[in-house]
């Protein structure tokens, strides 16, 4: 018997996985390393100029914006989460999922919508004047939305679901015992929230707020439309109007430092959360029934953030889009944009899901320190703002294109020009770097629900590693992979900053079109594009609300 023929060296298959995940990690790391290198090389003169003029303002504005948004998102997210878990009233079930709806509205769209809704000659101010009997905006107008305060409030109202989701989950998983123990120890029903629920939910609030703030740092549209000069906006203008790549890289690095701090905070929160939820999981505590009058009040209170964060802008977009379609119909331009948006997002999703599978599966097949670190590094991009990733990729691919061009000229006498930068490759690269964490994380969660004994069972029943994946893991994690793909797809559609910086000439997506019109102050077809983005953005909200219901039933 030729046992040697059928034997393979024990590490061979494992190391192939390792090489693959290592390659993915390098792929993701490259833009950040390039950024660092570029920033270090940057001319000292420019940096001192940046330090003295741009940075202090941008840094201050960013910090004020973050604090304000964090506070508002924390307050709205925590109170609404408590509302739907501690009390039961008519309409609670609807609120439970409807509170997620603002997630469907990207920050730049809410700013875009409210700029028009609250315009001095817009519907709201017109109605207010009519009520008060004024006839012209010159006699009476509300304070201008285009301010730091306006930006903070608007972002807070679309970003609070990031806090609402983990805090609600926390309230749901807390066992009734803790609440009951507190009651028997003399805490009044009213004080439960302050003395037990809130302290327990603190880690969840930290996680939620840090995610909301990462989203804030990523925002470029809202801050720019509303005239807030954040770091992100500064990076954009430094590159686009001044063509100063080292300068942009340096600001990007400052921004990245803030992100690292946020990530650390989020990790801290998650660590604590695990501790807090490790308490014996018994029944979730019974929501308290309230009188119908109180119930109505609670319902209205819960409705408010949905109204501001979703219903009003969505309704405005529907009306505006309807008017536009009635007036001019769908232009061919809109269809081209739709094709661009969906095509780019689909291609990026495919790539991201494949990479995500690779990274997540390696963690299962070959667990170890190296795999762990490769996984960490490959999912680094999730927190990095789109502008930062885009600047890094500009450096990497610019160098690559120049190298290919020079080589081609030297060897064949042909100039290849901007090979990758001129195509959509750069954009796909950026999407993959930014959203790989979503796909890898989702797929990993799906795989982790499959016990390891299934792998062993399949192997002892005669399946190879590949067969095990095909016949066991794939069918069992189909839902998780699809969900991860959907999330990535929607995020690609919504993505603005990186798309703005990296799209090839003359390629417009919904998001960039909207940005262009809003930046010019024109409102022609943008409402249709915005409505399309919001409609697509609702998909993951449906998914999330279903998952929430399943987990609360379990």
């Amino acid at each position: 018997m030729t046992s040697a023929a059928r034997s393979r060296h024990r590490r061979s298959t494992g190391s192939r996985w390792l090489v693959c995940t290592g390659a993915v990690a390098c792929f993701v790391m490259l833009p950040f390393l390039a950024l660092l290198l570029q920033a270090v090389q940057g001319s000292a003169g420019l940096w001192s100029h940046l330090v003295s003029t741009v940075l202090p303002v941008a840094l201050m504005d960013t910090i004020i914006l973050l604090s304000g948004v964090g506070l508002i998102a924390a307050i709205i997210g925590t109170t609404t989460a408590w509302l739907v878990t501690a009390y039961t009233f008519q309409g609670r079930r609807v609120l439970e999922w409807a509170l997620l709806l603002p997630l469907a509205v990207p920050t730049y769209i809410i700013a875009y919508a409210y700029l028009d809704i609250l315009h001095p000659i817009g519907p709201v101010q017109g109605a207010v004047r009519w009520l008060l009997g004024y006839s012209s905006p010159r006699e009476f107008r509300l304070p201008d939305l285009r301010s730091m305060t306006g930006c903070i409030v608007l972002l807070g109202f679309v970003l609070y679901p990031y806090v609402y989701i983990p805090v609600r989950a926390m309230f749901l998983t807390q066992s009734a015992n803790l609440i009951e123990a507190a009651r028997t120890l003399g805490v009044s029903r009213r004080a439960i929230f302050w003395r037990v629920a809130l302290p327990l939910a603190r880690p969840a609030v930290a996680v939620g707020v840090s995610l909301a703030l990462m989203e804030t740092l990523n925002d470029i549209g809202a801050s720019e439309f509303l005239g807030v000069r954040t770091l992100t906006v500064s990076i954009y203008t430094t590159w686009v109007t001044r063509s100063d790549l080292p300068g942009a890289a340096q600001i990007a690095l400052a921004l990245l430092a803030m992100v690292v701090a946020l990530v650390a905070w989020e990790r801290w929160g998650r660590g604590k959360q695990r501790y807090a939820s490790s308490a014996q999981r018994n029944r979730a505590f019974e929501p308290r029934r309230v009188s119908s009058a109180t119930g109505l009040l609670l319902f209205i209170a819960g409705l408010l953030p949905i109204l501001v964060g979703f219903a009003a802008p969505a309704a405005y977009l529907v009306v505006a889009a309807w008017k536009r379609v009635e007036f001019a119909g769908f232009s061919s331009r809109f269809l081209f944009e739709a094709a661009n948006t969906i095509g780019l997002a689909a291609a990026a999703t495919a790539m991201t899901v494949v990479f995500g599978l690779l990274v997540a599966y390696a963690g299962r097949l070959r667990p170890g320190l190296l795999t762990f670190w490769f996984h960490r590094l490959s999912t680094l991009g999730y927190a990095a703002p789109g502008t930062v990733v885009a600047i890094g990729i500009l450096i990497v691919l610019g160098t690559f294109d120049r190298f290919v061009d020079h080589t081609a000229i030297a060897w064949f006498g042909i100039s290849t020009g901007l090979l990758t930068m001129g195509s959509s490759a750069a954009l796909l690269y950026a999407y993959t770097v930014r959203f790989l964490a979503i796909s890898a994380g989702g797929i990993e969660a799906g795989l982790s629900r499959i016990p390891l004994s299934f792998d062993h069972a399949a192997r002892t029943l005669g399946q190879s590693k590949v067969g095990t994946f095909r016949y066991v893991h794939l069918p069992l994690s189909k839902a998780a992979i699809t969900a991860a793909g959907l999330l990535v797809f929607v995020d690609c559609v919504k993505e603005l900053p990186a798309t703005l910086l990296l799209r090839p000439l003359n390629v417009e997506t919904f998001a960039t079109h909207l940005y262009g019109e809003a930046a010019r102050g024109t409102y022609e077809e943008a409402s249709i594009a915005a409505l399309a983005i919001v409609a697509i953005g609702i998909l993951p909200v449906i998914l999330l609300s279903r998952m929430g219901r399943v987990s609360s039933r379990a």
């Binding site: 059928r6 393979r8 004994s453 062993h456 192997r459 002892t460 029943l461 005669g462």
Partner: protein, 388 residues
């Protein structure tokens, strides 16, 4: 049965005899997966472990384990959790690698310094503690999973045969979540046995069942496996299960083998205090070894010990080896506490000269409030080991 594979079967002639049944693959190469030994070489044990070691980081999971298992034997690997018994099972199956040593199946090396046969090529059946039935497949599809690569008809025939054998034909269209614990266990057994493995490995296969059900399912399973002549290695942490189930018991502790032997060997003739206390909650009485006897506060007991005169020794007395008499007895003691267990009652009796009360299991029904009792120790229920 007439195997459906027959029409494409070929034979390999070894030493002038038809030794192996199997088939060639599409490229004309001998396909080892189809191979079946007709005449197992008599000298080849079903499984041989030679100095197998495995570490996880700094912890040593297995430390130079050697073991030989004959064809058709039912072996129980027993030990407390973390002793390495499950690890050993996984290494035999090939779902985990070894650091040193060799593993041989039917005389062929499958794990060694330069050889590693993938688990799918080892012809091993595995029944998992959680059964690991694939939730997206029906019972029948679960069984067919291991029969992939056989002609469709042959696979279906074999699946039906094993369903019939185990008596779960009526469950074949159900999904695992629609089965009770006992049914899942039998489905898992059927799936593992369907590809006719050389060895069946079972990792705590009965621990997920209710107490009453467990005994019945275990008896049925083991008698079936005996009938089929399957070589079985079963892991358990339950001493009683090990004693009742295995032809041979392997007691493990922190990555090594403590004792191997029949249930009687391990229970009646343990090699060290650990083995003794694993199977029985002994009373330990300190004493001194003199002239072939252990002298204690409650008497002299003849024991064979390799010990110098006057060395300290510990006498181990089984609780059921001490009988209670209302009057007299070899010595007397005060009843401290009583626990009624049904068939027997467990008494804790404080005896003068002993620090710990003696635990006594008796079928005698003592009146409430009984204080002073007489005790008699039967010498054959005693063991002795040198004092630790």
């Amino acid at each position: 049965m007439l195997p459906y594979e027959m029409h494409e079967c070929y034979c390999q002639v070894i030493g002038g005899r038809i030794g192996v049944l199997g088939s060639f693959d599409d490229f004309g190469a001998w396909n080892r997966k189809t191979e079946k030994k007709l005449i197992p070489a008599a000298e080849d044990p079903a499984l041989e472990l030679r100095n197998v070691s495995r570490r996880f980081g700094k912890t040593v999971a297995l430390d130079g384990v050697s073991l030989t298992i004959g064809a058709g034997e039912i072996i129980c690997l027993v030990g407390r959790s973390g002793c390495g018994k499950s690890t050993l099972l996984r290494m035999i199956a090939g779902v985990d690698t070894i650091d040193a040593g060799r593993i041989l199946l039917n005389g062929d090396e499958v794990s060694g310094p330069s050889i590693f046969v993938e688990p799918e090529d080892r012809k091993i059946g595995f029944v998992f503690q959680d059964y690991a039935l694939f939730p997206h497949l029906t019972v029948e599809q679960n069984i067919l999973f291991g029969l992939r690569g056989r002609p469709k008809k042959a696979a279906a025939y074999r699946a039906n045969e094993i369903l019939d054998h185990i008596g779960i034909e009526h469950l074949k269209a159900r999904y695992p979540h629609m089965l009770s614990g006992g049914e899942q266990q039998r489905a898992a057994l059927a799936r593992a046995l369907a590809p006719q493995p050389d060895i069946l490995l079972m990792d705590e296969p009965f621990s997920n069942l209710d107490r009453g059900l467990r005994d019945r399912v275990r008896d049925e399973t083991l008698s079936l496996l005996r009938r089929l002549g399957t070589t079985v290695i079963m892991v358990t942490h339950d001493p009683e299960e090990a004693l009742s189930a295995g032809d041979r018991i392997v007691l493990m502790r922190s990555g090594g083998i403590v004792q191997t032997g029949s249930g009687y060997d391990l229970h009646d003739r343990p090699v060290n205090p650990y083995a003794a206390e694993f199977f029985c909650a002994f009373n330990k009485v300190p004493g001194v070894f003199r002239e072939g006897h252990v002298e204690t506060a409650i008497g002299r007991f003849a024991q064979r010990l390799e010990l110098g005169e006057g060395s300290p020794a510990t006498l181990y007395i089984r609780p059921q080896g001490i009988s209670v008499s209302r009057g007299g007895g070899q010595f007397r003691g005060h009843v401290q506490s009583r626990v009624f267990l049904g068939d027997v009652e467990q008494l804790a009796v404080k005896v003068d000269g002993l620090e710990q009360p003696l635990l006594v299991k008796t079928m005698l029904r003592l009146e409430a409030g009984t204080d002073l009792v007489g005790l008699v120790v039967s010498p054959e229920s005693c063991l002795a080991f040198p004092a630790a």
